[in-house]
Symmetry: C2
Subunit: 438 residues, 2 copies
C-alpha cells in the first residue's frame, strides 16, 4: 500500500494561495515603492548562512533555541537566517572599499525561528530591512523616521493609528553611567531589566533593580526616568551631564528637524524605549499601534554603528530598522486598511462547445490578440464545456469581460463581449474590437 | 582576541548586490508580467518542507545526496526544497475541493541542492514554475508552449536563438511496449537509457541497450526512432499502432494548433526528448539554446497527470514547466539580450555645506516635496561635505538631476537644477519647479 502524504505545510509556516499572495504582493509592492522613492537600492543574500554569523551578533536566545541549523554534507555548520541584519552587514563588509558611501539599502527577506506558533506569528516571517550606512549625523535617523512614517502612510495609516516612539542609548548612559555611576557590567544588566519594564509592575521593577545591587533611590530614579517627558530630563539627569551628552544633543537636533518637517504628530519621545540589541549605540525607536485595545509594538530600529566590527577592523556607522509582515498585516486588518484586491485578469475567452476544432482555434487566436494588446487574458481550454459553466468560472474568478464566439461570430469575423458585472453584451467586428483595445 | 568572521556567502550561493539585484528583478518582473498576461495566478509556499514529500516524487539522486535536510527541535525531518513541483501539488491537494478548476498557477521560488558549484550553476537557484491543472486536452500543453515562447520573447529572444523541442511519453510507449513488446520494467530502464542517449556515442548506446537485454535490432530501432522526423514515425512504429496511440494523436492535434498559430518556427518535434521524471506521462518538452557553440537545454516541462496521487485518492491532470534563473541569465548574456539597467532614482538633492542647519533643512524639504510628487529621490545627509564630492557620488550612482540650494536659492525661495548628463543648470522659483513636477 502506498503511503499517503500530508498536504499541510510545516507547522508555523504559511502556504500562500492566490488570495493570500495578492495581499503579500500588495504589502511587498508598497514596501518597495516607498524605499525606491527614497532612493534606496534593493539587495538580497542567501537564506542559508554560516552559523557563526548569528552567534556573533547576539549570542543569546535566538542562537541557542530558535535557530534552524544543521551541518551540510561537507561538514559546514549552517543556519537558516532568523533576521536580516547580520547578512546585510556581511555584504557591506565584503565589498567595503568598492561600495559608494553613504549606502542606502533595503531588502525583503524570509526569516525562520523555531518558536511556538501562535495567532499572528509563525516560524517563518518576512521582513523589510532598510538601513543607511556611513552617515554619522542625526539627519540619517531623521530620514529613516520619514521613511518609516511614509511606509505606514502608504498603507493608509495615519497619526491616530500609529506612533513612533524614540529614545537614545547614549542618553540612557547619561543616567546609568554618568549620573548613577554604575559600572559597565551593572549598567548593561540594568538596561536589560529596563527593556522589560513595561511588562512589570513598578514594584517588581524596583525589586529587580535592587536584586541587581541598586539602591531603592537609584531604582526610583530609573523608574521616573522611563516615564518622563523630554523637558523633564533635567530633573533626573543633572544639566551639566545632559548638555555634554551626545545622545541628548542628538535628540535636541532630531526634535528640531521633526518640528521643521511637521511630523510631530507621529513622533513621541519615550525614554522607556530601550530595545534588546546589545549593538545599539545611539537612537532607538519603535512603532506602536495606537489602538487602545492592542497597544503593542509593531516594529523598531536603532543605530548599530559598531556591528560591522565582527567582520574585521572596519568602521562604518549604521542606522535602520526591520518591519515584519505578520504584525503589519494584523495592523492593517485591525484598522480595516486592507483594500479589496481583485484579479489582475481582465478578459476571459470562452470556447464554443462542439466537436469542430474551429471553435477552439478561433478562441485561442482571440486570446493571443488580447495578450498582444497587453490585456491580461485567461482562455478556456476545453472543447466540450457548456458556456454556462465557463461563465460561472469567469464570474467566480472576478473577471470583467467574457469574449464569446459561436458559429455566427466565427463566420462573420465578429466577437461578442459580455460585461460580467452588468451582464450587458455587444457583438462587434473583430477588427473594431481590436481597434478599441489599442 | 575577537574572532573575525568571513564576509563570503555560503559556497555556491549568491549575494545580490544592487547591480545583480536589478538584473534579478528584471528577470522576475518579466516572468511575472507574462504569466499574469496569461491569467495565471501567483502563489507561494515555505522553502522548508517535510522531507517525505521529496522522497515520494523521485526517490533518487536528489534525495540521497543533494538534499539539504535536517531534524528540527521537535524531531521532524525537514528539507529545503530542491524543486517547486511537489509543494505545488501539495497545495492543490490540500484545497482540492475548494479550488476553482481549471487551475492556472505560477510562482517564483528559491531552491537548494548540494551540488558541486560550477560556472553558471550553484547550490541555490530560482525557478519560475507554471502549471495548468485540470485540463486533459492538448490545448493546455499548447497554451503552455505559447507561454514558454512568450516568456522567451519578452527578453528579446527570437527563433534564431531558441527552440522548443517536444515529444510524448505515450509515443515512446508505442515503441517500447506496443512495438518491441518490452515488459514494463525493461521499458522504464530503456527509457532512462534513452534519456542519456545524446551524451553517448551510437555504439555506447547500442551496447547499453544490449546490456539491458535488448537485441541489437531492437537497439537499432530505438536509436533510429530517437532521430526520426514526425512523418518518418510510421517507418518505425506500425501504422496500426500509431493510429491508436494517444501520444501520437495528441501530437497530430498539437502540430495542427502550432501550424494554425504560426509558431512553427519555435517548435520542433524531437523524439529524442525523454526527460528523467518518472511521473511524466504525456507531452515532454525542452527549450534549447540554438547557439551552435552552446546548444544546450535551457529548461523543460511535461505532463504529470498522476503526481497528485501521492497525496491521496485524487485525480487531477497537470502540465507545466520550471525555468531556472542561472541558465536564463547565461542565455541572455550570451545573446547580448540584457539591457542596461540604470538606477531607478531620478533626483539627487545636495546639501550646501555649512554650519547653519538651514541648508540641510531646506534640502530635506525639497527631498520631501520631490517624493510627494512621486519622484524617486536620494537626499545627501551630511552637512559638511563639499558640493563636488556630493555631485561625484550622484554621478557614480547614475542619477539624472541634482538639486542645488545655497544662500541665494534659500533666501529667494529658488532651486538650481543641474542635469547630470549634460551639466546644464538652471535656477527656477521653488513653486515653478514644483509645478513642473506635477
Amino acid at each position: 500500500m502506498k503511503e499517503i502524504l500530508s498536504t499541510q505545510p510545516y507547522i508555523g509556516a504559511r502556504d500562500f494561495y492566490p488570495e493570500e499572495m495578492r495581499i503579500r504582493n500588495y504589502i511587498f509592492d508598497a514596501w518597495k515603492r516607498v524605499c525606491v522613492r527614497y532612493g534606496y537600492e534593493e539587495y538580497d543574500f542567501p537564506i542559508l548562512e554560516p552559523l557563526e554569523i548569528f552567534a556573533a551578533k547576539t549570542g543569546e536566545e535566538i542562537v541557542k533555541t530558535q535557530l534552524f541549523s544543521f551541518v551540510d554534507q561537507g561538514g559546514r555548520s549552517l543556519a537558516i537566517r532568523p533576521e536580516l541584519t547580520p547578512g546585510t552587514v556581511r555584504m557591506i563588509a565584503q565589498k567595503f572599499n568598492q561600495l559608494q558611501k553613504p549606502i542606502k539599502w533595503f531588502m525583503i527577506g524570509n526569516n525562520w525561528r523555531y518558536e511556538r506558533p501562535q495567532m499572528g506569528r509563525g516560524r517563518e516571517f518576512y521582513q523589510l530591512e532598510a538601513n543607511i550606512f556611513g552617515v554619522n549625523e542625526i539627519s540619517a535617523d531623521f530620514e529613516i523616521f520619514n521613511l518609516v512614517i511614509d511606509l505606514m502612510k502608504e498603507f493608509g495609516a495615519n497619526s491616530t493609528m500609529f506612533e513612533l516612539k524614540y529614545s537614545d542609548r547614549k542618553l540612557i548612559n547619561a543616567l546609568l553611567l554618568d549620573t548613577l555611576k554604575l559600572d559597565d557590567e551593572l549598567a548593561v544588566q540594568t538596561r536589560r531589566l529596563m527593556d522589560k519594564r513595561k511588562k512589570l509592575t513598578p514594584e517588581a521593577f524596583i525589586e529587580g533593580c535592587e536584586k541587581l545591587g541598586l539602591t531603592s533611590d537609584q531604582a526610583d530614579l530609573i523608574n521616573k526616568f522611563m516615564f518622563c517627558e523630554f523637558n523633564e530630563l533635567s530633573q533626573i539627569i543633572p544639566q551639566e551631564i545632559l548638555s555634554e551628552n551626545a545622545g541628548y544633543l542628538n535628540l535636541v537636533n532630531l526634535r528640531k528637524m521633526i518640528d521643521d518637517a511637521k511630523i510631530n504628530e507621529y513622533c513621541v519621545f519615550d525614554p522607556g524605549i530601550i530595545r534588546g540589541f546589545d549593538y545599539s549605540d545611539g537612537l532607538v525607536y519603535e512603532v506602536f499601534d495606537k489602538n487602545t485595545k492592542n497597544r503593542r509594538s509593531l516594529f523598531g530600529g536603532e543605530r548599530f554603528d559598531k556591528l560591522i566590527e565582527i567582520f574585521g577592523n572596519l568602521e562604518l556607522v549604521a542606522t535602520g530598522f526591520a518591519m515584519g509582515d505578520w504584525t503589519l498585516l494584523e495592523f492593517l486588518k485591525n484598522w480595516n486598511l486592507l483594500p479589496e484586491l481583485g484579479s489582475k485578469t481582465e478578459y476571459f475567452v470562452t470556447v464554443w462547445p462542439g466537436e469542430d476544432t474551429k471553435y477552439l482555434e478561433y478562441s485561442l487566436k482571440i486570446g493571443t490578440l488580447l495578450r498582444n494588446a497587453g490585456k491580461n487574458t485567461d482562455t478556456w481550454l476545453q472543447t466540450s464545456s457548456k458556456l454556462d459553466k465557463q461563465l460561472k468560472y469567469a464570474d467566480k474568478k472576478g473577471y470583467k469581460f467574457a469574449i464569446i464566439a459561436g458559429e455566427d461570430e466565427i463566420s462573420n469575423k465578429k466577437v461578442t463581449i459580455k460585461n460580467l458585472k452588468t451582464a450587458e453584451q455587444t457583438t462587434v467586428e473583430y477588427n473594431e474590437f481590436l481597434k478599441q483595445l489599442a
